[in-house]
Each structure stands twice: as C-alpha cells, then as structure tokens.
C-alpha cells in the first residue's frame, strides 16, 4: 500500500511534468509555425549580421522599439524616402521595410525567429546573397591594332560577333550567319544608335566611369555638385555623380578591389560603350560618336568579395527608379530553387517590392514605367533563378555563336528570351566569348594571360546575355522617343518578347554540340573542353527565341506583315500584338479601309457569336473574336486593318465614365495568297 502511495504521486508528477513539457513543445511549435509563416528566405547564403523586417503598417516609435531587444544593434529604415514620391513608396510598402543589424556574437537566426513573433511585424526576411551570373574568368583581349571594320570605326567591332555574326569558325564551330542581335541595320539604316535621355542602370559591380570607351556615355547627376559633402539634389545620397556604391554606402564607386572581376564594366560596355570613337568596342546603344548614346548609371551592389545582399540590391533598384533610369540591367540572381512566384512573393520580399516600385517609375516619354531585365542563371538548371524568373520580369538565357544554348545557361520555366552570352571551347580561342570593356587595374586577371593590362576583355555567362537585351530595349525606347510613340509598359514587354529569331529549328536537328580545348595565350596550358552537350533538353525551352533589334524597331514603327490564305475565312492570331491577353481584351472596333477591301477582295462575313467572347463587329469585312482577326480574302493583294482595343479594364475611362482603361490602336498589315506555308516560306 505504502508503495502505491509512493508510486501514485511519482506517476502524477511524471505525468504533470510530461504534460508541461508537451505544452511547452506545443507552444514552441506554434511559435515556430508563426515565425515560419512570416519568414522569407530566398537563398541558401545570407548575411549573418543583419536581416529585414516589414511592418504590417507604418510603424511608430513603440513598434520599432519592440525590435530593440538584447542582441540587436540597430533598426533603421531600409529605403531612403524621396520628397514627392511618398505615395508611390507607400503603394509598394517601401515605407514599412526596416533593416535590423545584430550585435556580434548573436545568432541572426534566433533574432529572426524572435522578431517574427512581434505582432506588428508582417514579414521577416533573411538578408540573402545573390551572385553574379558569370562563368569562369575574364580574359584580356589582344591590343586593338586591327583596321576599323563594320558599321563604326571601333577596331574591336569586327570581333563582336554578337552584334554581327558572319558565320565561319573563328567565333565557334557551327557559327551561324545572323546568329547575333541584328543591330547593324538599326544603326546604319534607321540611324538609331541611342539617346542620352534613356538611362540604363547597371546594377552590378561598379562601372569604371573613367574608362576611355565608357566615360562619354556615363550618366552624370547634374543636380549634384561633386565632392562638396552635401546632398544637393536632396535624393538621400551625398555627392552621387555617376551612381552610388550601395555596398559601402558611399559615393566612391569602385571596380578594382580584391575579388572584383570587371563584371559591371563589362556588362555596362555591352549596353553602351561609346561607338564610332575610333577605339575599342561598340555598345548596343552606344550612340554614333556624336554624344548621342544612352547613358549608364552605376548602381554598385558588389564590391570585391562583398555585397549582393537583398538590402543592398533593393536600395540600388529604388535609387535607379528615383534618379531617372528607364531600364535596370541586372546580371545576377539567387541560386536557389524557389519553385513558384508565390514562394518568392511570400510576404513580399524587399527585393521584389523595390523592383515593382522601379517598374512604376516613369522616367522617359515613351513608357509609363521602367523595364527590369535579369539574367536567367548559369547553373544549367531547367528553370530560371529568381528574381529573373518572376512572372513580370524579363529573364535572359544565353546562346553562343552557333545560335544554340550554351553549356551553362539556365533554361525552361521562367526563361523568357535568349541573347548571345558567349561560350568558351566553341572555338580554340577566347573569341567565342563576349568582348566588351574591362578595367585594366585588375592584375589578377593577367594570370595565365600574357595579354593583360588592357581595357577590353572576354567573358561568358547569362550575365553577358542580359545586357544585350538591355541595350536592344534602350535602342527601342530611343527609337520610340524619336518617333513620338508611347507604349504601355506591359505592351512594350510583349513587343520585346516577340522580336525574336527562331532557335528551336536548329536545336531540333542538332543531337549534341561538341567543344575543343582552349589554349591560354603565352602558356603551355589550356582549358579542357566541356563534355559534349545534348540539345534535346533545350527544345522549346529557350523562351521566345533570340532577341532581334531590327524586329523590335519594326514593331515599334509599325507591324510585321502577315499572310492570309485566299478563298477561305482566315484568322490571324493577334497575340503578337496584344500578348496572350488578346483573347480576353475588350475590342471596340475594327476599321477596314475601302482600299484594303478592294485589294484583298474581302467578302462580308458574319461571326457566330458566343456569350463570352462577342465578336466585334458582329459582321463586316473583318471582325475580332477569341483574340483573332477574321477575314475572307478572295484576291491576291495586301492592305492594312486598324483594331481599337481597351487597355486596362472592359471599358474606356474618362469623363463621367466609371474608372476604365485607355484606348489602344493597332494597325495590322495583311497579304493574301493562294498558298500559305505554315512555316512562313514563300513556296
């Protein structure tokens, strides 16, 4: 009995203690669950000394103070506010983001978990590290002793196969004539070479603004008096003349620190190295030598072995939008498999909030916002990495001179378009990579390379593909500005993505591509050839194809010509003009001029209406339904048809109307023929 009395309290104690332990576990588990749902972690690598917090509403001192617990060093607002832009900042929640710095010896993970339990906090984000999308080293180019060739007098232009590829083997086995961005005719025939009012922010390592082939095309903040220690333009940054170094928080943009690679100077040169100045290379939107190139703003997010955190990137992107950039060229990403946009967006990352803010900043007369262009990544993954993979950001994959995917490029979901990124081993020299400007100060680049200490060099990566698209878009904006045209930002993105050349046809007939060893000049060493690369996985996985500058200009100027078949009710897909939303857009009217009716011999036709997609008009010489333009040509001929659409909503806004969209007018050009090849060939 005694034993029983003794046993019972012991069991009760044990049970009680077990219950308490259970409750504690449960509580801890609830806390963990709460913390987890509020926490955003975009990559595997992150800063151990800081993290980011987004409050549910604009915080007061008490809310900010609630984060100042033991182990926290400081809580400061992440974004600098610009007078007059407060509403836009609030729209994207930038006024609610704070950066928390933790004291040395404190585990940032613990502080993140603790901060997530603060009720006023809606998101806690790891300050993750992005990486540059360049593969391998940088190789200096041989001195430019060649005669001037090509569209301009820049001696290296003939080696920039990515602008005009003449085929042959110098730039790679299987090089394709026209395996380039097709920019020569844009420069020569259209005379479109850039515009100083179109500013491209190079969000990257520092751009060497003193480079002899870049200096004349650097953006200069005219409202800032250099080196007077005062923020003259009140933009939150002191003495920011060419941009800003967000890594160190100073105006001292750098490119020669230990760990720098010349990445920002190289990508900047591809966008807008000065053209026709008799030296070095050309940039896609580098002007004609008359001071008419697009301008480069250096938004430095990498410095030596540092930088690249979410906070640094987010600040740099906002700065670009606040200070006049129309395009951000971002050759970096976070190498982590984030499966969906929602995962990326979970709780709104500071990075994507800043990008959306940038996209809403109107800095040119053509577009109602900015264009964000990112590299897709160099991990050879079958998906793009973020932020580029995000649904409304243009992500660029890399092709080589053979117009085939490179052995490093990411491909598949999230990859929107392709451009030349270069590929070592396709030729027996570095010439199969992309040639652009580099800083001559980087001595480590001279290792194994007797051609060192030059201002030009070869690199490869989706990092190099990205600025080609940025440059082409800069040219497009320059041309649209010249023509006095205006576009909706999303509409312009559709134009970009549909201005491409086919890659898949060659992928389909190429089993695999092979590589050769690449000797290193002045040494007996060589880079070993990459293993043969099967092409099948890339089929239909390289976005909409390879960017074509000429096609974009034509789309800006007018429209490409379409072929309709004779003697049948024919429809033409309108998605190249209005994007995939063409099916659900509200169409107002279709104008068919009499001369078009006569030239094409159009017969009157009547639509069989459905409730959801009513034809506009119900009958006539042409109508639109299901995002298709229907007509019945009976004669060989050609003509133009004008379509009126509501952009944004199902009715027009203005006046006493309820809030609505704006009217878009699209001209469509049609040739009718008896024969219509489905592949577009004439026969």
């Amino acid at each position: 009995m005694k034993k029983s009395f003794l046993v019972f309290p012991l069991a009760a104690c044990l049970a009680l203690s077990c219950n308490e332990a259970l409750r504690e576990d449960q509580l801890l588990s609830d806390d963990l669950r709460t913390a987890k749902t509020k926490t955003v972690k975009l990559g595997d690598e992150y800063d151990r000394g800081s993290f980011l917090v987004k409050f549910a509403s604009v915080p007061d001192d008490a809310m900010i103070g609630s984060l100042m617990v033991e182990g926290v060093e400081s809580v400061e607002r992440l974004f600098t506010s610009i007078p007059g832009k407060e509403d836009l900042e609030a729209r994207f929640g930038l006024d609610r983001w704070y950066e928390v710095k933790v004291a040395e010896g404190t585990r940032v993970d613990d502080m993140i978990r603790q901060s997530a339990l603060v009720e006023a906090v809606s998101v806690v984000e790891y300050n993750c590290l992005a990486q540059k999308d360049v593969t391998g080293d940088t190789y200096y180019a041989a001195p430019d002793t060649k005669a001037s060739t090509g569209a301009f007098n820049d001696p290296y232009l003939s080696d920039q196969w990515h602008y005009r590829n003449g085929g042959g083997t110098v730039y790679g086995t299987g090089s394709v004539k026209g395996g380039d961005i097709n920019v020569y005719d844009v420069w020569n025939t259209l005379g479109v070479c850039g515009d100083p009012d179109i500013i491209v922010a190079i969000v990257d390592e520092g751009v060497k603004y003193t480079h002899p082939d870049l200096a004349a095309n650097m953006w200069i903040n005219k409202n800032e008096i250099p080196n007077n220690g005062i923020d003259d333009d009140n933009n939150g940054y002191v003495d920011d003349v060419y941009g800003y170094n967000f890594v160190n928080g100073t105006n001292q943009i750098s490119w020669d620190k230990n760990g720098d690679t010349g990445h920002g100077t190289h990508t900047g040169g591809t966008v807008a190295a000065v053209n026709n100045n008799g030296i070095g290379v050309c940039g896609v939107a580098g002007g004609s030598g008359k001071g008419d190139g697009c301008r480069l703003m250096s938004c430095q997010i990498f410095s030596g072995n540092g930088g690249g955190t979410t906070s640094v990137i987010a600040r740099a992107v906002k700065y670009a939008g606040d200070n006049g950039a129309s395009i951000i060229s971002c050759s970096f990403g976070t190498p982590s498999a984030i499966p969906t946009d929602n995962a990326y967006m979970a709780g709104n990352s500071a990075e994507i909030d800043a990008i959306h803010y940038f996209e809403a900043c109107q800095n040119n007369p053509v577009l109602n916002g900015g264009i964000a262009i990112f590299s897709s990544g160099n991990e050879n993954h079958p998906y793009a990495h973020y932020p580029g993979a995000f649904v409304d950001i243009i992500s660029v994959s890399a092709i080589a001179a053979d117009m085939l995917p490179t052995n490093y490029t990411d491909y598949g979901p999230g990859c929107n378009i392709a451009a030349p990124g270069g590929e070592m081993g396709l030729a027996g020299t570095f010439k199969s990579m992309v040639l652009s400007t580099v800083p001559r100060e980087l001595e480590e680049m001279t290792v194994d390379n007797t051609l060192g200490n030059a201002d030009y060099g070869y690199m490869q990566g989706t990092s190099m593909a990205c600025p080609h698209v940025s440059g082409v878009v800069a040219l497009g904006l320059s041309y649209a500005k010249k023509l006095g045209k205006k576009f909706d930002r999303d509409e312009f993105k559709q134009l970009i993505l549909s201005s491409t050349n086919d890659i898949d046809q060659k992928i389909a007939v190429t089993k695999e591509k092979t590589y050769q060893n690449c000797p290193i000049a002045g040494t007996n060493k060589y880079y070993k050839a990459h293993a043969a690369l099967p092409m099948a996985p890339y089929y239909h996985q390289m976005g909409t194809g390879a960017i074509d500058a000429w096609q974009l200009m034509m789309q800006i100027e007018g429209i490409p010509t379409l072929v309709a078949k004779l003697d049948k009710v024919e429809y033409i897909d309108l998605s190249p003009y209005f994007g995939t939303s063409s099916v659900s857009l509200t169409y107002l009217s279709v104008d068919v001029p009499q001369e078009t009716v006569e030239s094409l011999g159009l017969q009157s036709i009547k639509a069989s209406n459905t409730q959801k997609y009513t034809a506009v008009p119900e009958e006539g010489y042409a109508y639109v339904q299901y995002g298709r333009l229907y007509m019945h040509p009976t004669k060989v001929g050609s003509g133009k048809i004008t379509i009126h659409v509501v952009g944004g909503g199902d009715h027009l806004g203005g006046g006493n109307n309820p809030t609505g969209g704006m009217e878009l007018v699209q001209e469509v050009s049609v040739i009718s023929r008896e024969i219509k090849s489905t592949n577009g060939g004439w026969l």
Binding site: K177, D185, E557, S638, E674, G680
Partner: protein, 134 residues
C-alpha cells in the same frame, strides 16, 4: 530525173514533217519574283515582297524572302522536277508543289488549281541578302 525529183520531194516532206524535240524543262539557277497574278509588280498594295529562289543541281533549294519590312528570311529544302510538276519539301518537312513552265526565259510557277501564278526572272541573289538573311 523523175526518180530523183520524187526522192527530193519525199526528203523535203520528211524534213518538214519532223517536229523539233522540245528542250527538257529545267529550273536550276537563281530567280527573283517579279510578278504575282492579278498584280503588275511585286509591290502588292502597300507591302513590298522580295523573294529569291535558288534551285541547285543537287536537288536542294534556297529561298531568301523579305515580306514587308525586316530582315531576309532564309529557307532551305529539297525539290524534284517531274515533267512540269515541281514539288519539294522544306527542311522542316512542309511540302509544296507547283506547275512549272518557262515563258520568255522566265520561270512561271502556278499552283495546281492555277489560281495563283508567280513569275520569276533570272537573277543573281545579292551577296548582302545571303549574308544578312536569318
């Protein structure tokens, strides 16, 4: 004498009765589109059409075409000519066929229903078209 006269007349009749054997049709060479049925030039309405065909002896063909504005497009494939039926396949497998004939040295291609007749003149494909085509 009468005998020789008869022979001479017979020979003359035989010679007159001989029909000249027609030259076999050939399409080999380089051609430029010059006319489309119902139009008088390759500028149809407001759109310019520029098409070059090249039929090679090895049974392959090249097309360089520019429809409206833009860069020339290059298509390739194989062809055969059986009597006057010219048929072929693009490299992607798409088939085509025309009735071919020659008129004043020009190549005339009509679709089987004869509804569209395209005339091509002998021409040399410009090097810049070859170089810039994609």
């Amino acid at each position: 004498m009468k005998k020789y006269l008869i022979i001479a007349v017979a020979l003359m009749m035989a010679l007159c009765g001989c029909k000249k054997k027609p030259e076999p049709l050939t399409v080999t060479g380089q051609w430029q589109l010059s006319n489309i049925e119902m139009t008088k030039s390759v500028k149809v309405g407001s759109e310019t059409i520029d098409v070059y065909l090249e039929f090679l002896e090895d049974g392959t063909f090249n097309i360089y075409q520019t429809l409206g504005k833009g860069r020339p497009r290059h298509y390739t494939g194989t062809y055969t000519l059986t009597e006057n039926l010219l048929s072929g396949k693009y490299s992607d497998g798409k088939a085509w066929s025309y009735e071919a004939s020659k008129e004043d040295g020009n190549l005339v291609l009509a679709n089987p229903q004869g509804r569209e007749v395209d005339t091509y003149i002998s021409a040399t494909i410009p090097q810049d078209v070859r170089d810039t085509a994609i």
